[in-house]
């Protein structure tokens, strides 16, 4: 660090499976096998990373054999890749939850019947099937399905516009109302935010809720969410690990209201807060799981958001690539790969 000063980050050293060779700005990063890697012999001699922003270019390079592996296959290319016979598509449920936040403190959303109605009104199956082309799994709440804290008895809100209208009428909005929905054009873990939000907009229109869509650039969007002026907003969260606290506490505990923390829905439910707090005080995982399961049941009855989906991560690779596995943490791990 002394030798390189402020540039020390450009001289990486480590004990991993690969060694740093070179970095041509904007073109490629080259790594070379570490022959003395301690865990197992690495089979690849050299790894070249290339940044290719344009989806079509990435796909073309893969299909013409100029690349071996791409991550983040855009939904529209999933079908094409599966039928091309030239590449293998890999899918795995990741650690994201994509939700449509609702400002719980603003009228008319402070009435939980309205929030329930919005959940019934949105056709999540259609979003996953038609917009995401199957690269999402329906969400029942913030906790990742099939993890130890997930309440498996919960069902995703069914698509039931009739019921949504009824609930809105009960809450005093037989003719619906008008509101706004903020959407970032892109952003970390946001899947296809604008297309997804457009479907949601038309679903809500069908039950009488007129939504004005406002799309924003990611940086501007994050700043605006701190103003607490949002009504509806699209956002995604990646859990650092499968502990339910990693998702529920920051996103939904009332001590985490924005701008202090990331509870941008300004959700507050006393019993829910209490359960989350209790779960932090016990160490027994079984007991914690019970507390979290009750908390999840509360979220179904008193929904803070419209639950949409959990992203299914995608990667595609050439047929000659063997032994590649997607890692749930979103890290791109290439050390297990060998070439046929």
């Amino acid at each position: 660090m002394k030798k390189f000063g402020a540039d020390y980050a450009l001289q990486p050293v480590g004990t991993g499976p690969f060694k740093y060779v070179s970095w041509d700005r904007g073109q490629r990063v080259v790594l070379e096998k570490n022959p003395s890697y301690w865990r197992y012999p690495v089979k690849l001699d050299r790894v070249v990373y290339r940044p290719i922003v344009e989806d079509q270019a990435r796909l073309t390079e893969l299909l013409t054999g100029s690349l071996d592996l791409i991550v983040g296959v855009p939904p529209d290319f999933v079908g094409q890749l599966e039928t091309s016979g030239k590449a293998t598509l890999r899918k795995q449920v990741g650690a994201h939850v994509w939700y449509l936040g609702i400002n719980n403190q603003k009228k008319p959303f402070e009435d939980k019947r309205v929030r329930q109605a919005l959940n019934y009104a949105v056709n999540k199956e259609a979003i996953v099937r038609d917009v995401l082309k199957g690269t999402g799994s329906l969400s029942r709440g913030p906790v990742l399905p099939a993890t130890w804290g997930a309440e498996s008895s919960l069902k995703p809100y069914p698509y039931d516009p009739e019921r949504a209208r009824k609930l809105l009428a009960e809450a005093g909005y037989p003719n619906g109302f008008s509101t706004s929905l903020w959407v970032p054009e892109s952003g970390s873990g946001m899947q296809s935010p604008v297309a997804m939000s457009t479907v949601i907009q038309s679903n809500l229109k069908a039950v009488g809720v007129t939504v004005a869509l406002a799309t924003m650039e990611w940086g501007a969007y994050l700043a605006k969410l701190r103003t607490k002026e949002q009504e509806l907003f699209a956002l995604s969260w990646m859990a650092g690990n499968e502990d339910p606290d990693m998702v529920m506490y920051p996103l939904l505990h009332s001590s985490q209201w924005t701008p202090l923390g990331p509870n941008r829905a300004l959700y507050k439910n006393a019993r829910f807060d209490e359960l989350l707090h209790q779960a932090r005080l016990v160490t027994d995982q079984g007991k914690r799981a019970e507390l979290y399961r009750e908390a999840q049941r509360i979220l179904v009855d008193d929904p803070p958001w419209i639950f949409i989906d959990h992203e299914i991560q995608t990667a595609a690779h050439a047929k000659r690539v063997q032994g590649f596995k997607l890692h749930p943490s979103f890290d791109l791990r290439v050390e297990t790969i060998s070439l046929k």
């Binding site: 540039d7 904007g26 344009e54 650039e217 940086g219 969007y221 700043a223």
Partner: protein
């Protein structure tokens, strides 16, 4: 002439200063800041405050600007917030790739535009002239990113003749042939709109020039048609064409942003877009300064060309 040149070069200073003030203001007026974007949606207010202080973003804007200006005066464009590296080296490295791309696009569009324009002007209303008119309309109305993707699908995906992205092959390569293969699609994409503009303008100015009395005189003297068109016609028609080529050079530098993004060309355009999205103030300032400087220098070059083309033009 020398006095003129010195004056023009001195004028660069206020122009670049103005550009830097404007871009500094615009960047800071845009909502969101680098700390927010670096830390993402999971950041707490405390994290943000800490990083902002570390990056020197808590100081008043005027102080930040003057500090940056002080660095620039010493030939240092500061350090990128996002890449943690000296901006100048970063920008110059990428600018070379942009110059290769815009330079070849400019060459393509000038040569192609002149050839098409002259051919149309010498045979007005012929089939070629009409085809070139249709092609111009097409070329001028196609968005760069769409044309780029279409060319990529045809020549890289279907025919497999050309690579789809990058400047060199990831393995080996690196020679001129490799560069030219990678350059073909982005250069044609970028040149498409300009070639049509230059062609249409060449056609109309050439038609006007070829109708002049001195052209009739030249023909009457028995000068061969080729010399009539090129020496007597084209040279006199060049002044407006050079002006437009100069404007197009600037336009291509700006238009390169989209082409570079589509074809993963490692130029200053992609760097600038990344810088803007990350609110990397020093990086964007550096990119803009370099692009603005080249724009101004191109204009100066065009002005000097006038005098060379038409000896009646004098600068004092």
């Amino acid at each position: 002439m020398r006095r003129y040149l010195v004056r023009r070069l001195l004028l660069l200073v206020p122009v670049l200063l103005g550009v830097s003030v404007i871009i500094f203001m615009v960047l800071h007026l845009a909502p969101g800041d680098p700390a927010e974007i670096m830390l993402g949606s999971q950041a707490t207010q405390a994290d943000l405050a800490r990083l902002r202080a570390e990056l020197g973003l808590t100081e008043p804007l005027s102080v930040q600007y003057v500090r940056w200006l002080g660095l620039v005066a010493r030939g240092d464009l500061g350090r990128s917030i996002w890449m943690k590296r000296p901006v100048l080296a970063e920008v110059l490295g990428r600018f070379k790739a942009t110059l290769v791309l815009t330079g070849s696009a400019l060459l393509l569009s000038t040569v192609g535009g002149l050839a098409l324009g002259i051919a149309s002007a010498t045979r007005p209303n012929s089939l070629l002239d009409r085809l070139s008119a249709v092609a111009s309309l097409f070329g001028a109305s196609m968005p760069v990113f769409w044309l780029g993707i279409v060319l990529m699908v045809i020549f890289a995906l279907w025919l497999g003749w050309l690579p789809a992205s990058g400047m060199f092959s990831p393995y080996g390569g690196g020679d001129l042939r490799d560069l030219l293969l990678h350059l073909a699609l982005p250069a044609v994409t970028l040149a498409a709109a300009s070639v049509t503009i230059i062609a249409r303008l060449t056609r109309s100015t050439m038609l006007e020039t070829l109708g002049q009395d001195y052209i009739r005189t030249a023909r009457a003297k028995g000068v061969v048609e080729r010399a009539v068109v090129l020496r007597h016609g084209l040279k006199n028609a060049l002044i407006p064409i050079v002006t437009v080529v100069g404007v197009q050079a600037g336009y291509l530098l700006g238009g390169a942003v989209l082409t570079e993004t589509v074809f993963a060309w490692p130029g200053v355009g992609t760097l600038m877009v990344q810088g803007i999205l990350a609110r990397d103030f020093p990086l964007v300032q550096g990119c803009v300064l370099v692009v603005a400087l080249s724009f101004v220098l191109i204009n100066l070059g065009v002005d000097l060309l006038y005098a060379w083309l038409d000896p009646r033009i004098r600068y004092e």
